[in-house]
Structure formats: structure tokens, C-alpha cells
């Protein structure tokens, strides 16, 4: 019964994920990521995690996508929306990722008891709320601290005045000295 929406969402997600990693245009890749994330949100919904799906849409597609696009815009000399995204070593990467997938799939298939029906009803948003401020309140607080730290860190890092040429040469000095000593 759930198989059809699941399959559809899965197809959309996988296809757009492939486009994310293959698209020669970075802006396109970012947009494809949006679709992939949307697909995942749909999957969440199918899996009974409606709250999570909402968060996914709001936070990821609303926040992360925007952030990423802004990042692309300010870091690339671009020609309109055509931002080239080079990629190399397809064969090597393909072999490795297929092998990884094969191993994972084999491991999943070798694990018994994964075909059972759901054990109980899905958690409601209320349940999640209780869990967040009840059982996992410490983790919750830590995560909020982390977010704050990340925010501050991001501001501090990105705000720094351009130290580039000096910093790079400074890094070079001991490195060459070491090499000279080694030779």
C-alpha cells in the first residue's frame, strides 16, 4: 500500500542525487540537491515521520539550499547561473562507490529480521516533543550550544580580513626548511 509512494519518492531522490554529483553546473547541482532533499522529505512522510519531513523542508530546503546558493554566488566568478563544477576520476569513484553499495546491500540482506512489519504505531509530534525536553534534554541543550558555537564560528571565520598571501608564505617557511633538511 505504501510501496507506490515510497517507490516514487525513492526514484526521485536517487535520480536527483545522481544529478547532484554529476551535473557540470554547480548551480544546477545545488538545485538538484533541493529536489533530492524534497524526495527525502517525502520518504520521511511515508515513513510516518511527518514532523521530521516538515523540518526537512523548512530547514534544509529553506535554509541550507539558500545558504549554499549564496555561497556559490559569492565564491565563484560566474557567468549568470552557469557555474562550472569540474569533476575527475569517475571510473575510480564509480568502482569504489558501487563496491561500497554492494557491501552495504549484502550486509543488509545478510541481516535477518529486517522484513518484519512495524512493531508499533509511529511516534507523534507530541512524543517527539516529550523526548526532546525529557529523556534527551541534555543532548538537546548540547546541540543548541553547538548551533550557537557554529553560528559564532562561522561568523568569525568568514569575517576575518584577508590574510591570504601572508598566511600562505608563513606556512611555507618551515615546510621548505624541513624539506631542505631532509635532502
Amino acid at each position: 500500500m505504501e510501496s507506490i509512494p515510497f517507490g516514487l519518492a525513492a526514484l526521485v531522490t536517487l535520480f536527483s542525487a545522481l544529478r547532484v554529483v554529476r551535473s557540470p553546473n554547480l548551480v544546477h547541482a545545488a538545485l538538484w540537491l533541493g529536489l533530492a532533499l524534497l524526495g527525502t522529505a517525502a520518504l520521511f512522510a511515508v515513513l510516518g515521520a511527518s514532523f521530521l519531513a516538515g523540518v526537512q523542508v523548512l530547514l534544509y530546503i529553506g535554509g541550507v539550499m539558500t545558504l549554499t546558493l549564496v555561497g556559490i554566488m559569492i565564491t565563484r566568478r560566474h557567468d549568470g547561473l552557469n557555474v562550472p563544477a569540474e569533476s575527475i576520476g569517475h571510473v575510480r569513484a564509480g568502482v569504489v562507490s558501487v563496491a561500497l553499495f554492494a557491501v552495504l546491500a549484502w550486509a543488509i540482506s545478510a541481516t535477518p529480521g529486517l522484513d518484519a512489519a512495524p512493531l508499533g504505531p509511529d511516534a507523534t509530534t507530541q512524543d517527539i516533543g516529550h523526548a526532546l525536553v525529557g529523556t534527551h534534554v541534555l543532548a538537546f541543550e548540547v546541540v543548541s550550544m553547538l548551533l550557537l558555537a557554529a553560528m559564532l564560528g562561522a561568523i568569525v571565520i568568514a569575517r576575518r580580513k584577508d590574510p591570504a598571501p601572508h598566511a600562505v608564505t608563513h606556512l611555507h617557511v618551515p615546510a621548505t626548511a624541513v624539506r631542505e633538511a631532509a635532502e
Binding site: G89, V96, L100, V103, A182
Partner: protein, 602 residues
């Protein structure tokens, strides 16, 4: 403490107190004269107490002992230190303190021209020496004797090197220390073997015959070094680089005699080994003749006396080897007096003409009658002229050796002849004949140098009178009687003096007789010295250089090579780090795959 022990304690501690005061209160030392006064005062105290002790011992009381545990290990006493008062130590103590006192008084005049700090240092060394020597003499066991033995070696080193600015003196000091230290290893080994065998450092242990031979041979090795016996005699002539009074005290009268004293002390052990005593008998006699031959050709008056000392020590060793403890010891005593006298008289002559060469002297008897007289008395005593002290002691030695073996006896009689000859040579060349240019303005030294000459000359002449009490003190009954052998030696002595007179005593100096020329060549070749030099420079130094090189470039090189290898391996492995993030991701993924396969297969 009983009176005798108190006397002994004073004899030991008075000099060390002086030495300590001079070491700590260095202004006293820097001023010079206060140091001399302090040292002589302490030596006088030591001498007076030694004499008191000697008189006390003459009554024949049993030995007295005062010891404290020096090292306790494993809850038992490993070694004692202390004082042992008996005939031998009392006699030796008198000899040592008397000669030391005389030499110190003599030095007042002799060293007068030194800078005050050097003068003070000189007397501080003397105080230290007297302490060390008395520690050796008074030792209740062989370990303390060894300690004193080494300490006198050090003071000898310091005093030979007193003129340390002179390279030859510096070399001589170090050489003396090395040679004696090399020999001292024998004593150290001997002590260890003795302790393991008997459980103590006492000299009255009963040992297995083989052990006794081993121990005594090891001890004797140290004696060979300290008492300058062949082949370790090489340091003694060089030691004449030190100030002449030092030669008189350390390198003639007392320190070199320590070897003989050791055998006297350890006589109960030596009695247990016939083999060692035979070795001593022959080696002593051989050294006596060998050194006398070398003394023939020396032109330096101190070197003549130095070789003569070797030769006379050979007599003593030979006597000890023949089993006559008293003979050796008595010859040590008389020799201490007349050899110190000879050295001091020679010092007085050197002081006057500012040269050691007998050729630079000549006719000194007229200019310096007292010095000349003293030297002649000493020479006669040394030559064993009847009536002089040396005659009595030599007679005891010869009598003992005559019974022990014909060959050593013949060697010693020949030595008696040579002794008379070379002493005659020195006397005739230096004190008779025409004065040389240098000797023209010679005059008698001040009273401080004359007094010791008089005292020692008196003892050299009349010392023989004490033969019987001295022997009694050592627990032996000796009545003097002229034996055939001793008479023979006396005859040979006369012949030597006569030959010297005919060769050197008439008018201008003659060239050395033909037989002497051979000895001269032998002496000039310095074969024994050369041997040690080769051993040191060609063997020891080469081996040590090779080892040092190996340590630097092989042992340390290997460790550096390990470090180098680590760096090199790192350098080789560095291309693995491409710096490309995808490569690291790839490595991580491959790692995960590997882990998966590993967990699946196991």
C-alpha cells in the same frame, strides 16, 4: 686510650691537623712562612710522640690495638681503621718522623727562594705526606695500609710535580703515579683475594699454599712498583725532578721503603709462600746489581743517588726474600738515615752551585767542609765501610742471603763493590779535585740546612749501635758477628773505593773505563723506558683511539642510522599523503570495505 696509643694518635693526627688548617686557612698558606712553622711544629710533635712510643715499646709490651669499624656491610664489619702499636710500627714511625722533620727543617733554607704561596704549598704537601705515611705505618690491617700506600703515592705525585711549570717535572710526576698505580693494582687484587680467602684484611691469616703464593705475589707486584724494583723502577730516576729535599724524604728514605715495610708487616703471609720469597730473593738481588750498574754512568748527582736507592732497595727485598725480616727492615732504617743524609748533602751542594751535574762541582770539600764531610760520611755508610751504620745492616742482609742462595749472594757482593765504586766516583769528582767555575763561589748553607746534616750524619755513623735493640724490638735475637760473606763484601767495598780513587781521584777527570762505556750505552738506550712508551703510545693509545672511533662512528653511528632510517622512511612514505581530500576519502572508504571483508571472513 693507653699512653702508647695516645702517642701513636698524636703522631698520626698532628700532621693531618696541620694539613687541614693549611687547606682551610689558605691565607696562612699564601704567606709561606706560617705554613712552614706550623708544619714543622706538627712534625716535631709527631716525632716526639714517636720517640716516646719507641721508648715505651723497648720495654717489650705486647702489641696494642685501637680500632673503629670503618665500613659495615650486611650487618657485619667489613673493615676497621685504627692504630696498631708494636715494635715494627714504632721503629718505622721514629724513622719516618725523624727524617721528615729533618727534611722539613732543611727545606726552610733550601726552598727559601720560592714565592711565598709555593713555599706554603710545599709545606702543606709535606704535612699531608707525613700524615699519609703515618697512616700506612700505624695501620692495624692491610686495608688501611693500602689507603696510606695510595695516599703517599699521591703526595709523591704532588711533590714531584711541585715545579709544575716545568714540563719535565709534570711528566715525571704523572709517570711516577701511573707506574706505582699500575703496581698498586696488585695490592688491590691481593687484598680482595685475601679477604675472600680469610674473611679479613689482617696479615696473620692462614691460607692454602696456592692462595698464599697468589696473594703474596700480588702484594710483591705492588712492592716492585713502590720500591722501584726492576722492571718498574723507571719512575724513580725521573722523580728526581722534584725538589731535592723531597727526593731525600719520599724517594729515598720513607715512601719507597713502604714496599719493604709492607713485606715486613705481611711477613706472616710471606712466610707461607716459599715461591714468592724465592722470586723476591732473585729479583731483589738482580735489581741491586742492575741499578748499581746504571748508577755508575749517571752524571747527575741526584740520578746516581736515585739508582743507588733502587739498588739498596734491592738489597732489602733480597733480604726479605731470604727470610730475614729483621735484616731487610734494619737496612731500611739505616738506609733511611744515610740516604737522606746523602740527598740533603747533595741538595746543599746543588743549592751552592745551582747545578745537578757532578761535572759542575769539584773541590767542594774545601768550600763547604760540613756538606762535604756529611756526604763522605753518607757515602761510607752506603758503601758499608766497617763501623758505619750501613756496615751492620748490610752484613745482616748478606748473611741471610748467603744462606739462601749462592747466585743472589754473588750478585749482592758484586753490587757492594759497584756501590763503593760509584759513590767513590761522585765523592772524588764532586768534592775533591779542582773546583769548576760554578763551584768557585760556593759556600756553606744557613744553619737550617746544616743542622739536619749533622743530625743525620751522626745517626749514619753511630746507628749501628742500635742493631741489637732494634732486632729485639722486632722479636728477634741478633748478636753481631762478622761472617765470611760480609767480610768478603767489605773487601770488595774497599776495592771499589780504591778503584774509584785510581780512576777519578787523581787530578783531572779521566774518561770512564772501558767496561763502564758498555753500561753507558745500555743506560742511554733507555730500553725499559722505551718499552713502556711503546706500550702506552703504540698499544694503549692506539687501542683507545680505535675504541673511541668505534664508539663515535659505529655504536653511536648505528643509533644515528636508526634515526636516519626513520626520517628516510618518512620521506619515502610522504608521497602517500597527496594533500587531496578525495584521496583521503578514498582511503577511508577502502578501509571500511577492508574492515567489512575482514569481519565477514572471520
Amino acid at each position: 686510650m693507653t699512653p702508647p696509643l695516645t702517642y701513636a694518635a698524636v703522631a698520626v693526627f698532628a700532621p693531618v691537623a696541620a694539613a687541614l688548617v693549611l687547606a682551610v686557612l689558605y691565607p696562612l698558606r699564601k704567606k709561606g712562612m706560617p705554613a712552614a712553622v706550623l708544619t714543622i711544629a706538627s712534625s716535631s710533635a709527631a716525632f716526639v710522640s714517636a720517640v716516646l712510643l719507641f721508648i715505651d715499646r723497648l720495654q717489650g709490651a705486647p702489641p696494642e690495638l685501637a680500632t673503629v669499624p670503618w665500613i659495615q656491610s650486611g650487618s657485619k664489619v667489613l673493615a676497621d681503621v685504627g692504630l696498631r702499636v708494636d715494635g715494627a710500627s714504632a721503629s718505622m714511625l721514629v724513622v719516618v718522623t725523624l727524617v721528615a722533620l729533618m727534611v722539613q727543617v732543611f727545606s726552610l733554607g733550601y726552598m727559601h727562594d720560592e714565592e711565598p704561596p709555593a713555599f706554603g704549598r710545599y709545606f702543606a704537601y709535606h704535612a699531608l705526606f707525613l700524615f699519609s705515611m703515618n697512616v700506612l705505618v700505624i695501620a692495624p690491617n692491610l686495608l688501611q695500609l693500602f689507603a696510606g700506600w695510595e695516599l703517599v703515592g699521591v703526595t709523591s705525585y704532588l711533590l714531584i710535580g711541585f715545579y709544575f711549570k716545568k714540563p719535565s717535572a709534570a711528566r715525571a710526576a704523572v709517570k711516577a703515579f701511573w707506574v706505582t698505580k699500575f703496581a698498586d693494582m696488585g695490592l688491590l687484587f691481593g687484598l680482595l683475594v685475601l679477604y675472600v680467602a680469610s674473611g679479613s684484611f689482617g696479615w696473620d691469616a692462614h691460607l692454602e699454599p696456592a692462595t698464599a703464593t697468589l696473594v703474596t705475589l700480588l702484594f710483591f707486584f705492588a712492592v716492585v712498583g713502590k720500591s722501584a724494583q726492576f722492571p718498574l723502577h723507571v719512575w724513580l730516576p725521573d722523580a728526581m725532578e722534584g725538589p731535592t729535599p723531597v727526593s731525600a724524604l719520599l724517594h729515598a728514605a720513607t715512601m719507597v721503603a713502604a714496599g719493604v715495610y709492607l713485606v715486613v708487616r705481611a711477613n706472616p703471609l710471606f712466610e707461607q709462600s716459599e715461591f714468592t720469597r724465592t722470586v723476591m730473593l732473585y729479583l731483589g738481588a738482580g735489581t741491586a746489581l742492575f741499578a748499581a750498574l746504571l748508577a755508575l754512568v749517571q752524571t747527575d748527582i741526584k740520578k746516581v743517588l736515585a739508582y743507588s736507592t733502587c739498588s739498596q732497595l734491592g738489597y732489602m727485598v733480597s733480604a726479605l726474600g731470604a727470610g730475614s725480616m729483621v735484616g731487610g727492615f734494619w737496612h731500611l732504617t739505616t738506609h733511611a738515615f744515610f740516604k737522606a743524609l746523602l740527598f740533603l748533602a747533595a741538595g746543599s751542594a746543588i743549592h751552592a752551585v745551582h747545578s745537578n751535574e757532578i761535572g759542575d762541582m769539584g773541590g767542594l770539600l774545601k768550600k763547604m767542609p760540613l756538606t762535604g764531610g756529611a756526604f763522605i760520611i753518607g757515602s761510607l755508610a752506603l758503601a758499608g765501610f766497617p763501623g758505619f751504620s750501613g756496615f751492620f745492616s748490610k752484613d745482616m742482609v748478606l748473611e741471610a742471603v748467603e744462606h739462601a742462595g749462592k747466585v743472589p749472594f754473588a750478585l749482592l757482593v758484586a753490587t757492594a763493590f759497584l756501590t763503593a765504586f760509584y759513590m767513590g766516583r761522585v765523592v772524588f769528582v764532586a768534592f775533591f779535585g779542582a773546583p769548576s767555575a760554578r763551584a768557585a763561589h760556593a759556600h756553606e748553607p744557613p744553619w737550617s740546612m746544616r743542622l739536619p746534616l749533622v743530625v743525620l750524619a751522626t745517626l749514619s755513623v753511630f746507628g749501628g749501635a742500635f742493631t741489637t735493640p732494634f732486632a729485639a724490638l722486632q722479636g728477634e735475637e741478633v748478636h753481631f758477628h762478622l761472617t765470611g760473606g760480609a767480610a768478603l763484601a767489605s773487601l770488595f767495598g774497599f776495592a771499589g773505593i780504591g778503584l774509584a780513587f785510581f780512576t777519578y781521584g787523581r787530578g783531572p777527570r779521566h774518561e770512564a773505563p772501558g767496561a763502564v762505556a758498555f753500561v753507558e750505552r745500555m743506560s742511554n738506550s733507555h730500553a725499559v723506558n722505551r718499552f713502556y712508551e711503546v706500550l702506552f703510545h703504540r698499544v694503549a693509545l692506539v687501542v683507545s683511539d680505535a675504541l673511541a672511533w668505534t664508539d663515535r662512528y659505529i655504536v653511536d653511528g648505528l643509533i644515528n642510522a636508526v634515526g636516519y632510517g626513520a626520517l628516510e622512511a618518512g620521506r619515502r612514505a610522504r608521497p602517500l599523503q597527496t594533500g587531496l581530500v578525495p584521496d583521503y576519502v578514498l582511503a577511508a572508504v577502502i578501509g571500511v570495505l577492508g574492515l567489512a571483508f575482514w569481519s565477514a571472513s572471520s
